[in-house]
Amino acid sequence: MPGYIHIRNLKKSFGSFTALHGIDLDIAEGEVVCVIGPSGSGKSTLIRCINLLEDYAADSTITVGGTPVQRGRALEKVRADVGMVFQSFNLFPHLTVLRNVMLAPMRVRHLPEAEAEQRARELLRRVGIGEQADKFPGKLSGGQQQRVAIARALAMEPKVMLFDEPTSALDPEMVGEVLDVMKSLAGTGVTMLVVTHEMGFARQVADRVIFMDGGRIVESGTPAQIFDTPQEERTRNFLGAVLNH
């Protein structure tokens, strides 16, 4: 049975360089999948293809909830249902925190302003920054900004959340507060695909861990399988290098 996110033979090239060599991946509704792997292995490219921030080869297939991810009328609908959190937050600097969260629900879901504001304030409280609602993003710490970014994505009530190294740009003391928000999200029915270097988080929260290298999925399994009994040499080397630091 195809997964909620269904990826077949996903290939992606940048010019003559092949970043993804035919990825096959199915993710069930509500599943939490963490993607690990060395820098340059294609993790970002993989998740950016799922909402078509990157175009992919014509003979590859991606569907989300049965809808093909491709240019055309359906794309904005898919994107509205797929939230994304970036390493660099990408909040809108000219809008207050509250307006950042309200914008897409009003423009895309056509929520009335009052309702959008109520939902935004509630979400901001949920991620622990209710009091910062009327500030501009530039006044917030990195950890606070990333939590706003998560609230902004959640305001669309997405079926899927994509995270691309959400804590990599943060000072160490702020990593925990963002991971806590993500943990509270797991198991709520949202399908999560998380690119991360936080192995502790992956072990604790993931239903499945995928190890990528060189544009391929080298190995995938439960956190226990990947972290405790990795089958592939490359996985062992990577984990050895990461966990010993």
Binding site: L53, M84, N90, A104, M156
Partner: protein, 222 residues
Amino acid sequence: MEIFDTFFNLPVLIRTFPLLLSGLWITLQIGVVSILAGLVAGLGLALVRLYAAGWLRFLARLYIDVMRSIPLLVLLIIIYYALPFVGIRLSPFLSAVAALSLVSAAYTAEIFRAGIEAIPRGQFEASEALGLGVRHKMVDVILPQAIRIVIPPLTNNCINVMKDTALASVVAMPDLLKQATQAQALSANPSPLIGAALIYLAILWPLVAAVSRLERRYGKDR
């Protein structure tokens, strides 16, 4: 003082002041209409230049380069003196506004393009990832940020358009410069010309100062 009688002849200035004011009114009309038309057309042109299909983009680029290369006076004279040969007869006012807007649109387009291109990729991606369509992405996210960047160069362009309105006098438009030269001829004294120069200064100097201020402020918070 002979110099004062020649260049700052008060009775002459007072007598010709109404004439200068009527010229100023025309100058402002030409300038403001051209600036507004140039802004609207320039924004559209910038969007075409950045996002339209290949050949449209090429045409926009061609237009922008041609209009930035042609001397404004030459364009104005072609519009006023050459177009009637193909049956297009524009009034002096429309000729001046047409020439100024056509060129201003090209400069404005380049300013907007630079402003939009200065917005980080992540802003476009975050908008797209939220499902915002092209229109909302531009109107709600990209353009409000780009506007802040382009205000100083746009103001500069406004100053240039205002200055270039003086060229309208060559197509017999009774603008500030034309009225001043006429008043000079009538009163056989150049004071009206000096008066006109002072009026140009009074209008444009504050704008020039404003640009410097904006650029300094902008330079600071970057």
